[in-house]
Amino acid sequence: MNGIDVLGPQISVLVAAGVVLVVDALFPGQRRLLPFLALAGLLTAALWTTSWVGRGDYQTVFDGTIVLDRYAVFFQYVFAGVTATVILASIDWVNREGRRQSEYYALVLTVCAGLMLLAGARDLITIFIALELSSIPQYILAGWGKDAKSSEAGLKYLLLGAVASSLLLYGMALLYGVTGTTILPDIAAAIEANGESYRALLIVAMTLLIAGFGFKMAVVPFQMWVPDVYQGAPTPVAAFLSVGSKAAAFAVAIRVFFEALGADFLSSDWSMIFAVIAAVSMTLGNLMAIVQSDIKRMLGYSSIAQAGNFLVGLAAISVAGEEFTLGASGILLFVAAYAFTNLGAFVAVIAISQRINSDRIADYAGMWKTSPFLALGLAFCLVSLTGIPPTVGFWAKLYIFNAAVRADLVWLVIVGVLNSVVSAYYYLGVVRVMFLGEPGTEQRFRASPSIAVALTATAAGVLVFGIVPAPLMSAARDAVEIFAR
């Protein structure tokens, strides 16, 4: 029973997916209910997760392949929140499409179950299957729209994703080949015992793992798919991709690189690789974002740059002790902050693009006059993405750069700060267009209730944790404590 208890959240999300499909088949007239059934499943999962919080810390089930610790709990909350926001933001779009409704929600829930499973997976096979469970429905969702662009997005994502999965699998196979186990701590023990003798192989395996996870994180040079997929996929799906799978890739990368490949003679290597990828991703993502005229492409490139910021934290965790906790909790803080902020931005973009039928930044002119609520929400999220107080994005960047300084990565921090200045140019450029531009039409419009709830929740998160960041910080610190040594 213990295993069922630990997997309760994932099971309840999957049950909700099944219920959504069956209810739609049996009562086709009740389609308005479907998103609320999906939300109920997510709420059950969140409550189940909450029920563990007071119950001691650390237990493994299924012979150590699944672990329940505060780290998994932290990410399960993040994924439940992200999925709930995506579902709220999808309601209008799905109703307008008028087709494949239950299947859409069922696939979104399946992705969520995969992400949650990744948070607690501590074995290479489970990690791979969970990663596929969260990826394959996303390939399908990216091609969900009726137009050719959406089909192109789905196909590109599928093909490149398959290549990335095969690289990841090759890396895992090499790791298994030399250590004889797939359980992360056992791999670490085997490497500790005589890893120096096959260091070259470990570095090749590590590089393959970085390539596989890097695709999901969307960092340079594994970012080719991002702009086309973000632009072509339905906007709610693009929002989900930009937050859900990115956060999951970092969650699992921290676990794999720290729990399995944390040996000293390896960590300096992967730390260096991550630092270089971070610098290149930030710079390239920001420079490309400047020249975009389509807001979804701009957010796509900006998400590459943001992933570079996450990686600064990952580069800084190679050191043991106090600095490790700082870097790792910095990534978790950044994940939570980025989740609120980027989702908020996407929710506003979904509402606006449905109204004006355009994703061009120039068409956002004068949004402040036609829809002050959406303009304010979007502006607020963009300010947070830039990293300006009093938003949560500021604390996240401060924390992560602080960790990098302590880990002697000053050059990386300088690159990061310069990049924040560059990113201010295009983030605030959108704000300028919305507030100072002249609207094409004087007709005002309001956001629908579900969009309003989603945007208010995310913007409130950005503001509240921007003013009082302590609870989020201590949650992030507690979550990574189990890795400290």
């Binding site: 295993g3 008028g98 069922a106 399946t110 596929e132 399908i140 030399v178 096959y198």
Partner: protein, 172 residues
């Protein structure tokens, strides 16, 4: 793996698998590529036999050669002919260079590594042991794989429906 027989079998299988895999890439006719793919699968099944993993070898033949290759063949035969001139890409030369470099790295690394080898297969490597492992330690990935297949099935049905069916569906 001692003695002449297994070594000979290994090199023959390796040559067969590599040539067949190369054939998948270079053949201009899609149908020939699928047939080469089947040959590759059979070669891989031969490796499993050499490793005394009889059950997996059989599963490899039944699933990959029997089911997946046939499915691919059907897909190729039922899909209208479209342009297949992506062979003349200007990336061919960089691609070959990259492949050679990667092969050199892997050859070096594989040669450099002291692998854990055993002289004969450990006992109890049969279908029963595999089944026990799949239903105890790895039960979660095993069950999740079925969820994954269901999700993929739902998605495949949804993505391939005709617009008329969708219009009917929307009216209900």
């Amino acid at each position: 793996m001692e003695g002449f027989g297994p070594s000979f079998a290994f090199w023959v299988l390796a040559a067969l698998t590599l040539v067949a895999a190369g054939g998948v890439m270079v053949s201009r006719n899609l149908l020939h590529a699928v047939l080469f793919l089947i040959l590759t699968f059979i070669g891989v099944a031969g490796f499993f036999v050499l490793l005394s993993a009889d059950f997996i070898a059989m599963a490899q033949v039944i699933i990959y050669v029997g089911a997946i290759a046939v499915l691919v063949l059907f897909a190729v035969l039922l899909t209208p002919r479209s342009g297949r001139d992506n062979g003349e890409t200007r990336w061919a030369l960089p691609g070959i260079l990259l492949a050679v470099c990667l092969a050199a790295i892997f050859l070096f690394v594989v040669h450099d590594t002291a692998w854990n080898t055993v002289d004969e297969a450990p006992a109890g490597l049969d279908a029963r042991a595999l089944g026990t492992a799949l239903l105890t330690t790895w039960v979660v990935p095993f069950e999740i794989a079925s969820v994954l297949l269901t999700a993929a099935l739902v998605g495949a049905i949804m993505l391939t429906r005709s617009p008329e069916e969708e219009a009917e569906d929307a009216l209900v």
